[in-house]
Amino acid sequence: MKRRARLVCVAAAVLALALPAGLAGQLPLRFALGATSGQWHVSSTFPGGSEELSAPMIGFEGVADVWRLGLEVRYLQANLDPSTVSTLTRESADLRLMLAVRPTSWLSVGTGPHLRSYVTSIGTQRWRLWEVMVRGQAFIIPDLAKGYAEVWGVVAHDVNVEEDWDYGEGADVGMVVALPRPPLWIKLGYRIELYRLGDGARREVTDGLMVSLGLGRAW
C-alpha cells in the first residue's frame, strides 16, 4: 500500500513538472497539480471506548478548469498510528473527485464521489460517499493570495460497517499563495470532517493541517 501510494505521488509530481507553464497560459484551460503533505488526526468514539490516531499524510491534488467548469481531484494517504492504548493501526487512503462549476468568480459549487478506506489487521472498511460542496474564495492580497472557505455534506453513502449511517459533513478553510512566474502555488488549509454512524453511537472526527506545493495557475 505504501509503495503504491508513493508511486502515485511521484507520478503526479512528474506530471506537474512536465506541464509547460506557457501551455497552461495560452490555452483556455487551467491546470494545477501539486503535492500535499500535512498532519492527519482522527478521533473515533464508539460504544465502550474511543481512540485517537494521528500521522503525517501525503498525497496530491489537482484541478483542470475549462472556463467555469472544473474537475478537482485529491488523494491523501496516511498510516495512522494510535496514540491511545489497545487500538489498531489504520492504513488510510482517501480519494475525492469533485466536478465544480463557478457561477461567479468567488463561488464554486460542486459534487462528486469521495472514497476512503481503512485497512487494519482485522479487516478493511470501505467508505463510498457522494458529497455536495460549496466554496467561496476571495483575494486577501491582490493577485498574490486568496482565502477560501468550503463546506460539504454527504448526500449518499455506501459504507461496509455494521453501524447504520447517520450523516457526514465537513469544512475546509485556508489560503492559496500563488506566484505568476514561475506558476507556483502554495496552499495552506485546515480541514475537518465529522461522520456519525449507528444512530450517534459511533463518531469519527478527522481533521488536520494540509500544505500543498504545486505548479500551474492557481486561479
Binding site: 494521528s54 492580497i141 472557505a149 478553510v173 485556508g174 470532517e193 465529522l194 481533521d207 493541517l209
Partner: protein
C-alpha cells in the same frame, strides 16, 4: 439736303409721342450734335434738351449726359444765352467734376466759360469699388477716390443710417483728387457692425459753411467666424483615484481576520470541538497575517502612481485640445472681414450753394 435733316428730324420728334421720343434719346443727342455742327443751334438745343429730359432708365448714360451738357452749353453760349450756358456747364460739373469739354471739339471761348463755372463750384465726385471685402486687423482698407471740381475744403466721415457719426475720415483741403481710406473701425476702434452707412463728403465754403454734401451709401456686412467652444475638462468619472481608499486594504484585513477566526472556530461549527487538533490555530493565524499583509500592501491614502500617470495623460490631452481651440479662436477673432457694397451717390445741395 444734309442741313435739312435735323430740322425734319426735329419736326418728326415734335409730333411723336413722348415715350417714342424718350426711347431714342441717344438718337436725339446725335441729331443735336449734328445740328450743332451745322450751326443750327436752336435745333441742337431742342434735340439735346429732349435727350436730357428722357427718364434715367431709358435715357442717356452719365458720359452721354456729360457730352450732351457740353454741347448744350456751347450751343447756348453761341446763341448768346450765357445764363443757360452757365447752367448747362454747372450741371455738367455737378454731374462729375472730372468731365471736361473736349478742346479739340469746342473752341477756347467755350472751354473758358466752362472752366470759369468749374472753378466757381465746389463739387466732389467719387469713384468707389462696387463690392469690396477688407480684413480687419490686417491693415486692409476700403478706398474711395475723391475728385474735386476746384480747390476747396472738405470734411468727410462715415455716418450711420440715423446720421450719427461713426468715424471721421478726413477734414482739410482737396486739390484735384484725394484718396480716402477707411479701415472698418469706428472712432473707438471697434469693428463697424453690419448695417447701412454713408460715406459723407461735405464741400465747405471758405467760411466753413457746408455748400453741398455727397453721400455714398455703404451696405456693410461684418463677417466674423464663431468662436469654438472650449472642450470641457474630463469628467470626474473618467479620472482615476490618485490615492488609495481605505476600502481595499480594510477588505483584505477583514477577510483575513474573518477566515482566520473561521479556521480557529471551525470545529465548533462542524461539531467536533472536543476532538479537533490545534493545527487549526496555525492555519487561522497564517490567514490573519495574510490579511494584515494585504492591508499593509494597500495602505489607505497611498499614492497610486499608475492612476496619477493616467490622469496626467488625460489632463494633458484635454489641455492640448483646449490650447488648440484657444489658438483657433484667437485666429478667428482676428479674422474679421467687412464686406462693403456701395450704392449710387446722392448729392445734397445746402442753402447758399
Amino acid at each position: 439736303m444734309r442741313r435739312a435733316f435735323p430740322a425734319v428730324a426735329l419736326l418728326v420728334a415734335a409730333v411723336l409721342p413722348p415715350s417714342a421720343a424718350a426711347q431714342s434719346a441717344q438718337e436725339q443727342l446725335q441729331y443735336g450734335i449734328e445740328a450743332y455742327g451745322n450751326l443750327e443751334l436752336g435745333a441742337a438745343v431742342a434735340f439735346i434738351r429732349r435727350a436730357l429730359a428722357a427718364s434715367p432708365e431709358e435715357g442717356l448714360s452719365e458720359a452721354e449726359r456729360a457730352t450732351a451738357l457740353g454741347y448744350l452749353g456751347a450751343a447756348e453760349h453761341y446763341r448768346g444765352r450765357s445764363d443757360s450756358a452757365i447752367a448747362a456747364f454747372r450741371q455738367m460739373v455737378l454731374l462729375n467734376p472730372r468731365y471736361r469739354p473736349d478742346p479739340l471739339v469746342f473752341p477756347p471761348p467755350v472751354v473758358r466759360v466752362y472752366d470759369g463755372v468749374r472753378r466757381s463750384l465746389k463739387v466732389i465726385g467719387t469713384a468707389a469699388p462696387p463690392d469690396t471685402t477688407i480684413r480687419l486687423h490686417e491693415e486692409e482698407t476700403f478706398a474711395v477716390q475723391l475728385y474735386a471740381s476746384s480747390y476747396h475744403s472738405i470734411s468727410s466721415l462715415i455716418a450711420r443710417e440715423d446720421g450719427t457719426m461713426l468715424r471721421r475720415l478726413y477734414g482739410g483741403d482737396i486739390g484735384d483728387s484725394l484718396s480716402l481710406r477707411w479701415d472698418g473701425f469706428d472712432t473707438e476702434g471697434n469693428p463697424a457692425p453690419s448695417g447701412l452707412y454713408y460715406l459723407s463728403v461735405s464741400s465747405l465754403a471758405p467760411d466753413g459753411v457746408v455748400l453741398r454734401t455727397l453721400q455714398l451709401p455703404l451696405d456693410v456686412e461684418l463677417a466674423r467666424q464663431d468662436s469654438l467652444t472650449y472642450p470641457p475638462p474630463p469628467a470626474d468619472s473618467l479620472l482615476l483615484p490618485e490615492r488609495r481608499s481605505a476600502g481595499p486594504g480594510l477588505k483584505s484585513l477583514g477577510l483575513g481576520l474573518a477566515l482566520g477566526a473561521l479556521a480557529a472556530g471551525l470545529p465548533q461549527l462542524v461539531g467536533g470541538s472536543e476532538e479537533a487538533s490545534n493545527s487549526r490555530y496555525a492555519v487561522g493565524g497564517a490567514i490573519a497575517i495574510g490579511g494584515i499583509i494585504g492591508l499593509v500592501m494597500r495602505p489607505p491614502g497611498a499614492a497610486l502612481p499608475d492612476n496619477i500617470a493616467a490622469n496626467e495623460v488625460l489632463m494633458y490631452e484635454w489641455q492640448a485640445r483646449r490650447d488648440s481651440v484657444f489658438a483657433e479662436n484667437v485666429q478667428r477673432l482676428r479674422d474679421v472681414r467687412l464686406h462693403i457694397r456701395t450704392g449710387a451717390p446722392l448729392r445734397i445741395e445746402h442753402e447758399g450753394s
